[in-house]
């Protein structure tokens, strides 16, 4: 599993999910609303979570498919993690497996920002970058630019300090 599936195959296949979801499921591509749905199940007393969540139920099924794909990959290929990428960055930690639980705190913090930011921005890489930008929506183009600025700051300035 060392060479990745080339982008010119993987990218269009991901793009195909957009019409597939529309035709087969009448849904716009996205995944981060699944977190809101979970909130709606667990903490329905918070106003933001007491919403018509049935429209987001499909995202839990979609998420289940994602989890299964990870599980299947583990069964077939094992934990293909650090190994796959050339360590091209300038800080040393890239030589080790980043997914070690000793990095749990950093991942937890990153997760909080992902969850908070996705809801605040009203979408994530799927809903904004792919679904939204392909509609040429101003909101999604702005969010995508913002994702990248945030990502540059995190990757260049924060990660070398915390990993």
């Amino acid at each position: 599993m060392n060479a990745p599936l080339p982008w010119f195959i993987a990218g269009p296949l991901i793009g195909l999910i957009v019409p597939a979801l529309l035709i087969l499921r009448e849904k716009q591509f996205g995944i981060s609303s699944s977190y809101r749905f979970i909130g709606g199940v667990l903490l329905p007393k918070i106003p933001y979570f007491s919403y018509q969540k049935d429209g987001d139920r499909w995202q839990i099924q979609f998420a289940l498919g994602l989890i299964l794909s990870g599980f299947a990959a583990y069964q077939v290929f094992g934990a293909f993690d650090a190994v796959v990428i050339q360590p091209v960055l300038d800080y040393e930690k890239l030589a080790v497996n980043i997914y070690d639980v000793k990095n749990g705190l950093q991942f937890f913090l990153g997760g909080i920002l992902v969850g908070f930011g996705a809801r605040y921005a009203n979408g994530c890489t799927a809903g904004h970058c792919i679904m939204g930008v392909s509609q040429f929506a101003t909101s999604s183009i702005l969010a995508t630019v913002s994702f990248f600025i945030g990502g540059l700051i995190g990757s260049f300035f924060i990660n070398p300090l915390i990993f």
């Binding site: 269009p12 296949l13 991942f107 605040y120 990660n159």
Partner: protein, 139 residues
């Protein structure tokens, strides 16, 4: 049941592509933000282009869903402060955890310990947002 299987299968397909292309990986995300490979950019741009072409065709053909309904595609509402500030926060999280929302789930299956930590973090972040959202600048 049919809807469930379709959605599950599409999620599995999506995850498999993210795995095979390594787009789920922390390392690929760092590589992207350091502009050290075209891989992730090509992947995102070609996904967007493919989606845009199909959206155009669906619209032109007035394509109906398999349930016989008109397909409705709505852009997300522009709330520039929310898109901007939320985007920055999301981007920070994306680069630190090396995972956006979909890879969080993939990692639950692949590396369940880190995956569950990430998922717990993402849920805590969502709850924090739910608690403060009325006070945040949006439009």
């Amino acid at each position: 049941m049919l809807k469930f299987i379709i959605t599950l299968a599409l999620g599995f397909f999506f995850g498999s592509i993210l795995l095979a292309s390594q787009a789920f990986s922390w390392y690929r995300i760092q590589e992207m933000f350091h502009f050290q490979s075209f891989h992730m950019f090509g992947l995102l741009f070609s996904a967007i282009a493919t989606s845009a072409v199909f959206l155009f065709i669906l619209k032109r053909n007035k394509q109906k869903s398999i349930y016989g309904n008109e397909i409705e595609v709505k852009p997300k509402k522009l709330e520039w402060k929310a898109n901007l500030f939320g985007g920055l926060i999301f981007g920070l999280g994306w680069s630190i955890s090396g995972a956006c929302s979909a890879p969080v789930y993939i990692l639950v299956g692949l590396h369940w310990k880190i995956g569950l930590i990430l998922l717990a973090g993402a849920f805590v972040g969502t709850v924090l947002f739910a608690l403060v959202e009325r006070k945040l600048p949006k439009a």
